[in-house]
């Protein structure tokens, strides 16, 4: 049974221009112990998806439908008390900017013992566990540094502290929202290695959200591609990067300069603009920018299964296979 099962999730926001449909009919599941990558350009709904899972949607949300099953409970419609029981304990998060999670006026030791408040243990035991986790994220001299404040650490170290904090409660699901976007290449690799290693130790599931294709290809087992509020394709990392079936996935991969083997003067782009989510066009959401558009695209495609666990929401999904 899946740990997390999102089924037909739609989320809309109230805006001055009208209702903005940020997520539409998103279905996605995360197995126990799996690392899943969520890829999509900014504005495609990645953070809204995460906020739905942790029950922290902004105040102007106007409609939520569908379900998010976490084990045998539905997060959609759950009481605040129920959410608090999950959030920070069984589902934890790390974000792009570590300072959003760290309190600048408290030492990291104080913060790392405070989040263990549910454990009926002495402070000494909690401190020892905090030191252990700091060592696991390879913080040199962890015992001494426990009493330092966030500003005394570099950006890369702060992100590692956040990882330690997110794993301290041994969660079932760790959600990482662009955790390496602000880091340089060598530090990004370190963080990814660390995530994989700790995930293996703890056995939790990880949802890794990024627009860095290379990082996702390196870390994840399964991948979902989002475009303008929809999951347009999902499959194993090999399905997505080697045999993409949705024209958007194919275009996105073409645009990655890291995949161009030849030096190129002009870099590939996706012509056109993302549709306005207040006025959703009819038919396929990618239609206006799609190189493979044909008559049927006026009809909204439903996800087509092209292989085990590999689905693409495109009328041509079967034809678009690599020969």
């Amino acid at each position: 049974m899946a740990l997390l099962d999102i089924d037909g999730l739609s989320v809309a926001f109230r805006t001055r221009r009208g209702e903005l449909q940020a997520l539409r009919n998103v279905s996605l599941s995360v197995e126990k112990g799996e690392i899943i990558g969520i890829i999509g350009e900014s504005g495609c709904g990645k953070s809204t998806l995460i906020n739905s899972i942790i029950g922290l949607l902004p105040a102007n949300v106007s409609a939520v439908s569908g379900s998010i099953r976490f084990e045998d409970e539905n997060i959609v419609g759950m009481t605040e008390a129920g959410l608090r029981r999950l959030r920070g304990e069984r589902i934890t998060t790390i974000f792009q900017d570590p300072m959003t999670a760290l309190n600048p006026v408290l030492s990291i030791g104080t913060q790392m013992t405070a989040i263990q408040y549910r454990r009926p243990e002495s402070l000494a035991v909690k401190r020892r566990r905090a030191i252990d986790f700091l060592e696991r994220v390879r913080m040199p001299d962890a015992a001494r540094r426990l009493d330092q404040y966030p500003h005394q650490f570099s950006g890369g170290m702060r992100q590692r502290i956040c990882i330690a904090m997110a794993l301290l409660t041994e969660p079932d699901l760790l959600i990482a929202d662009e955790p390496t976007t602000a880091l340089d290449a060598t530090l990004e690799v370190q963080v990814i290695r660390l995530l994989r290693e700790l995930q293996r130790d703890i056995g939790c599931s990880v949802m890794f959200v990024s627009h860095h294709l290379g990082a996702v290809a390196d870390l994840c087992e399964r991948v979902a591609i989002m475009y303008a509020g929809e999951v347009v394709e999902q499959g194993t990392v090999r399905d997505i990067f080697r045999d993409p079936r949705h024209p958007y996935t194919r275009k996105l991969l073409e645009c990655d300069p890291g995949r161009l083997t030849e030096m190129q003067d002009t870099l590939p782009t996706i012509p056109g603009e993302v549709p306005d989510l207040v006025h959703i066009p009819e038919g396929c959401i990618f239609r206006s920018r799609c190189p493979d558009e044909f008559a049927r695209c006026g009809e909204r495609p439903s996800p087509e299964t092209v292989g085990p666990g590999h689905r693409a929401a495109c009328h041509k999904a079967r034809e678009l296979g690599t020969p």
């Binding site: 040199p140 570099s154 890369g156 060598t186 690799v189 990655d256 300069p257 002009t266 603009e273």
Partner: protein, 322 residues
């Protein structure tokens, strides 16, 4: 082959956070954010500065446009020394060097219409004749319709804001544009659009670019030459193609190998650079990369490596190069 910009043995110092504490603990009272940096950029070409954050890239760029005082060394532009010049002497030079800052939204003032944002460089240099036509033509240069002049920054998408930023930079037809992380945080498709636009403008106007980035995939496609910085020093410099074909400094090899490919079967072996970047207050002895280097010898701890010069101006400072 005359250089447009020459930086010679440039060092930039900042006072350390606490001088008293520094004196008491025996640490230096200043940091060298840029240390003995030399390089040259040819007219009409693109030169990339790469390196981890904190390696001194932005400081170097700001020194070139006179926003940060230099400690020693010289900067020459178009054959004229510009480091250490006063504000009045710098004025005509400023016209020829434009700077595109990181974070385009943050650098576009929110209460001004695009019209006023683009008028600003002309006004600063007293070239206000025919302003409307100049602004329309700038918008056309960056592929935006004329009615965008009436918009405010918050009415622009991320990509459009970047275009306005580029339009402002080319307004006075500078010979050099310094672009600090021009594509940081952008999606690949929009990143491609921006780089293509910059390349097209380079061809049209012969502008040289000094591009600061930590995206090596981008460097490979846009830069003619590149320098790799570590702790304020250039540790390797050369033609981009030569460095990608055969990186020599061990920091460069680690950096290039960490450039993850979007391919699950990618066989590239990642060379890990363990640990953290050292503090500028406590520069390591010998080769400053040695604490993180997996290929260090005894000599690397004790002796700073000299510079080795190869063909085509490829140079690096490493005792045990790849």
């Amino acid at each position: 082959m005359t250089a447009l910009l020459t930086v010679n043995d440039l060092t930039i110092r900042f006072p350390a956070a606490s001088r008293i504490a520094a004196r008491l603990s025996g640490q230096p009272a200043f940091i060298e954010a840029v240390a003995q940096v030399s390089f040259a950029l040819e007219a009409g070409k693109t030169y990339a500065l790469v390196g981890e954050s904190g390696s001194g890239k932005t400081t170097l760029a700001r020194a070139i446009v006179g926003l940060v005082p230099t400690h020693s060394g010289q900067i020459e532009f178009g054959g004229q020394r510009i480091s250490g010049l006063g504000e009045t002497a710098l004025r005509p030079v400023r016209r020829q060097i434009a700077m595109m800052f990181q974070d385009p939204m943050g650098s576009l003032s929110p209460r001004l219409k695009v019209q006023s944002i683009l008028a600003e460089p002309f006004k600063v240099h007293g070239e206000t004749a025919d302003l409307d036509r100049k602004i329309r033509s700038l918008l056309a240069d960056v592929g935006l319709p004329a009615h965008f002049a009436e918009r405010y920054p918050h009415q622009l998408s991320g990509g459009q804001a970047r275009r306005i930023n580029i339009a402002r930079a080319i307004a006075l037809r500078p010979k050099l544009i310094i672009a600090d992380e021009p594509t940081a945080g952008l999606d690949v498709s929009i990143q491609g659009e921006m780089l293509n636009l910059m390349r097209a403008l380079q061809e049209k106007f012969g502008t040289a670019f000094l591009m600061i980035t930590h995206n090596l995939h981008v460097v490979r496609h846009v830069a003619d030459r590149m320098a790799v910085m570590y702790l304020g020093r250039i540790v390797e410099e050369g033609d981009t193609a030569a460095i990608f074909a055969r990186p020599r400094h061990r920091y460069t090899t680690a950096l290039l190998s960490a450039n993850l490919k979007a391919d699950p079967d990618s066989s590239t072996q990642i060379i890990e650079a363990e640990g953290e970047t050292p503090s500028l207050l406590k520069r390591p002895s010998g080769c400053e990369f040695h604490p993180r280097c997996s290929f260090k010898h005894e000599i690397c701890r004790n002796e700073m490596p000299g510079e080795q010069a190869m063909a085509q101006g490829h140079r690096f400072s490493c005792h045990n190069p790849a």
